[in-house]
Assembly symmetry: C2
Homo-oligomer: 683 residues x 2
């Protein structure tokens, strides 16, 4: 029943053709999938004559996007364009028209229409931001045959489902230089995301150059901070891409860095505040009972606010366990005096004061969901992050926030640093099956993927954000019923590779790490291993005795591996097919992998060993051995009990983590073994 409805909704009629989303999705590499797409038989061939014009004449976002479009199109197709810049006073073969230039806000209209004819293309939008969203869609439409690149005939009407489609990057745990952020902004824009949430401070560092309180960046950043000029530049860069920037200054907890610079604001006298080098939740907390704390925050926020033109200002507010508050007699006394029973009450007292400070500065207070306490005014925006893992219900506080009258944004389910597969995030819907009034629904602004950076450096951060965040972007933009996981994965593969055009390093840096591990030997055998291994999920990397500090190496084998390991899902699929029908063709497919793995250890052994490679030896050996027996079993259609038990022992070994990775073909190997046992076991 549900399926039928889905197909009907996704169908669209054009010149007599009825086309379902799935068929279209095989043909068009679009992500996020547009609201409405119709095909037509046209074909716009990309030659050196392609030109762009814009009306009205524009020196801002659209011109910038058009120039970048021409560069990217030329690079993608190899076509030498005659005109490298938009035409003025002439109509180009691609014509862009829009009505108004946006001031970015949650009210902004990002809709557009796009029609591809044989010799002309038209993009129309109410705003300049809508127009640049359309240009990204057009670029994604690029196709080719043997002799030409072309845009296929389509007619698209598109608009986002949610107004808030964000990515948070934590630059405190590991600093991320401006160029890392810029390339990620480019990538965000390419999948129509529109909010960059900049987590600028935490226990591990204060990354904002304060001229009012210079000790903050001087003493609490290790020299790794953004100057105000760089911040202005980044905000302008994002604005040009139609991306709002929300700064986060996390208070009153996560305050080790602030208190390293200004210990007098701390809750524990005489405590030796220092920049934190470990991961976790720590005790240093602002003393929210002191007047100087508010004076400090008011001055600091007054300095920060003008640099970020957006209406929203994130004050964190999460994970304050209040240990230092409980240990401080003056704070206890203050609570009693002010009838603040719990630390939550005290934090609400603090939040309400902050809300007033920010309000004076023209900003709306946003905070992680801990700030949603009974007395918190509904002018605050609730950033829902906790869920089942934190003992709350699935979907966390989002729905209840909306019902209570708060604007709210969802990150629970979008914690990409947890290293979970893409479908995990893709299938989280912000609203889900909740029954909401129109007003309640409108308070659910959208969501944000969160890239916490305890375990990533500039070398690896892209491979933790991408490509999964593109699928999350689709969740935020596309209609709710665009939810076919296989289809999404097919498109994601293309989108992922095209992110390289924007300088995203998620593919290329794997080999950099592996070359480094081998002292530049042949890395083929390590690539093979990396394609079936994934870094330990849900922060387990920090739990196996290895304590990662901020300055630990993050170019190890686990850092070369990524979520959704390339060969694993293919192998799982192939094994399933084989078990369903063990015909020759399916057997050959299974064997093709098993043979590669069976042979791989020979290549691994050719490497001159060193302490970085050595721990992989057992993984490599066990994989080869189990693959060899399994491939012989399948070829001979026969297995002995000895071999079967050997296989099981090997799989048991592979079922344990190796150097912070897990081997993600173990389940498939188990199923395959089960099948072999049931089918081929002799005597």
């Amino acid at each position: 029943m549900k399926k039928l409805v889905l197909v009907l909704i996704l169908c669209s009629v054009y010149s007599g053709h009825l086309v379902s989303q799935n068929i279209l999705a095989e043909t068009y590499n679009l992500m996020p999938w547009p609201k409405d797409i119709k095909v037509n038989p046209a074909k716009f061939i990309i030659t050196s004559d392609v030109t762009i014009s814009i009306s009205p004449d524009n020196n801002g976002r659209v011109r910038n996007a058009a120039i970048n479009f021409l560069r990217r199109l030329s690079n993608r197709t190899g076509v030498f364009l005659d005109k490298g810049f938009p035409l003025t006073n002439k109509v180009g073969s691609i014509h862009i028209a829009f009505d108004t230039v946006s001031k970015l806000s949650i009210e902004n209209d990002e809709s557009y229409s796009l029609i591809v004819h044989d010799t002309s293309i038209s993009i129309k939008a109410k705003t300049d931001v809508g127009a640049i969203r359309g240009l990204e869609t057009l670029l994604q439409l690029t196709k080719n045959n043997e002799t030409n690149y072309f845009f296929p005939g389509v007619s698209i009407n598109d608009a986002p489902r949610f107004v808030w489609r964000g990515l948070m990057i934590d630059v405190a745990r590991h600093f991320q230089p401006i160029d890392v952020l810029k390339r990620n902004l480019d990538a965000m824009a390419s999948v129509k995301m529109n909010v960059f949430h900049w987590h600028l401070t935490d226990d591990q560092g204060f990354r904002f150059e304060s001229k009012v309180y210079p000790k903050l960046h001087e003493l609490a950043s290790d020299g790794l901070y953004y100057t105000q000029e760089q911040i202005k530049d980044l905000v302008a860069y994002a604005d040009n891409l139609g991306i709002r920037v929300i700064p986060e200054f996390d208070v009153p907890g996560h305050a080790s860095a602030i208190l390293t610079a200004y210990p007098e604001l701390g809750s524990k006298d005489g405590y030796d505040y220092t920049i934190e080098r470990n991961s976790g939740v720590f005790d240093p907390t602002l003393d929210v009972t002191k007047d100087i704390t508010y004076e400090f925050l008011e001055n600091l926020f007054s300095e920060i606010a003008p640099l970020f033109p957006d209406d929203y200002f994130h004050i964190g507010g999460d994970e304050n366990e209040g240990k230092h508050w409980d240990e401080n007699k003056k704070i206890k006394k203050f609570k009693r005096k002010n009838k603040l029973k719990t630390n939550h009450d005290l934090q609400t007292y603090f939040n309400i004061k902050l809300e007033k400070i920010l309000s004076k500065l023209g900003k709306k207070l946003m905070g992680w969901d801990e700030i949603m306490t009974p007395n918190m005014p509904t002018t605050a925006v609730i950033h829902s992050w906790r869920g089942e893992n934190e003992g709350l219900e699935k979907g966390g506080s989002l729905i209840s926030a909306a019902k209570k009258g708060y604007q709210t944004v969802l990150s629970n389910g979008y914690y990409i640093d947890r290293m979970l597969p893409v479908e995990h995030h893709y299938t989280v819907d912000p609203i889900g099956d909740a029954q909401l009034t129109k007003a309640e629904q409108s308070r659910i602004l959208g969501g944000e993927a969160t890239m916490w950076s305890e375990l990533v450096t500039p070398l690896t951060i892209d491979s933790r954000i991408w490509p999964r965040t593109a699928a999350i972007a689709e969740r935020f933009w596309s209609p709710k019923n665009i939810n076919n996981v296989d289809d999404m994965k097919k498109r994601l593969k293309n989108v992922s590779f095209q992110l390289e055009e924007l300088g995203i390093t998620h593919i290329k840096n794997r080999d950099v790490i592996l070359r480094g591990m081998t002292n530049n030997q042949d890395i083929t055998s390590l690539i093979t291993l990396s394609k079936i291994c994934e870094p330990l999920k849900v922060y387990k990397r920090n739990k196996d005795g290895t304590e990662y500090k901020t300055f630990s190496p993050f170019n190890l084998f686990a850092d070369a591996c990524v979520v959704d390991a390339e060969d694993a899902s293919d192998f799982n699929h192939i094994v399933n097919n084989f078990i369903k029908d063990s015909n020759e063709t399916n057997a050959i497919q299974v064997l093709s992998y098993l043979k590669i793995w069976a042979k791989n250890h020979d290549d691994f052994l050719k490497l001159t060993k060193n302490p970085k490679i050595k721990p992989l030896q057992n993984l490599s050996k066990t994989l080869s051995e189990v693959s060899l027996i399994l491939s012989e079993t399948i070829q001979n259609k026969n297995i002995s009990t000895e071999n079967l038990s050997e296989i099981k022992n090997h799989i048991e070994i592979l079922n344990n983590p190796f150097v912070d990775v897990e081997v993600v073909i173990v389940d498939a190997l188990k199923e395959l073994t089960g099948y072999c046992e049931a089918t081929y076991l002799s005597n």
Copy 2:
């Protein structure tokens, strides 16, 4: 005779061992090779206990370098260091001592000594810059066995041969963002280079934010320029690495960009000055007879000078052909009136006036060698770039400049954008066999590799600079007699791969380009081709009918290929061995390549074709065919006249350029064919 002297010079005695450079060079991966190195039997094992201390306590270059050293050491070895920052008030296992903090200048002392004992390492230097040079040497010493990384026992005394060891990057033809420059500065520092010459303006763009003349960056940069904040930041970044920054503002020629903004300074009234999109030498030239030109330059240089603390200021002065001067009656009249017979005289008139402006600003004028005209005062510094290619004698104007009393810097022979093999540059010695007095010698400050950017973008620039520039850096730093090409190449291979640690993209971006060419198909067959192809040399890429504009695609097959193609020199070597002695072992070596190439076209044919791959088809096919016949010939020790003539036809085809590359195994194939003809021809 010469060889004997060389060995004797290179030998050094330590605890009874006599060790030649070649033997040491096989053991130690140092580049540039130090002045004096002695080995000792110690072994400093790198464990989590490694610490660094600095005396005197330092918050500048040495502390910065020490922190980076710890990060790089940890990343290279995978060792989790306990202490991520230099110790204070304690002696670390690595102790660095220096006397004074340098103000960078050509007088600066960069010498250092380094001793590695079993449990302690000492670096001593007169200046902080010397100390950080020593740290780079120490990092290059890292070795490993199966269980440990370690520093081998050595005792090094080192100092540079030349005080000026530079790299010029042209950011006008193709803009290079700050992060590209920063990673190249890191790489420069890793091979002890100390001058970054920043070619900031040219016909294709003015890259400096001028607050005095804002039209310069507003109208003549396409929005691609450096803000003054970014410039300050970059200069500080370089200074922290012991690298001086020399700005170049090219006048009076190469002035299209300047004149796009301020046409009133031009030599041709009513000329339609625009930002140049092509490569070449163009006519737009400042009118040096007008007072407003000097007013403009004085104001502009006064704005620029304080941002660049270095003593030197480069005014270009090259390639002014004076066409617009000749066409301007007022200029002709001015020349007559001022008794300036030639355009050279007029340019000297201009240069002398500039020299006075710069002198007032505390700067020494430096210019390309055209400025060395009879009346030019010897306070100017001559940057020697022209040589045999420009109709001058080999080595160009350097020696004569030194003899005439000018300080001088050599770039002739170091034009890395000409895409010539590394030995070409490595074997150019700035002084050569010239007989010079001590005073004359001292005027030869050193040299600069020049990266002109007509044909490079941020995607490819690193692969054009590195690794060859590391060999040039050795030429500038190491004693003259360190000149064994094979030995250099062996060390360069390691240095090249280690540059990836600093984010240099010369290795990883090849695959990015090839993935882009194939729409993310298996690129193995293209990698094989790229390893025997080199981009056309000496600007030929622009001559075959394809006119590259600044906005043309630079991610084509030629851009994936590099100079010193990886498999070519190995194959050449193997073929030589085989021809000398066609024993089984040598035959197997030759066959190993031939078989890969013979098979490669099958893989190539598996690719779904597109317009970017298609032009490679003939190259791939011909290579496979010739390789197949040759490998059969060698295996059968027999060749027919038909096959021989087929081989020759194939080689003839391979001898022509394909899509802007040349196949650099052609000579080896010819030799091999000649051998086969002489040895195996039947009847």
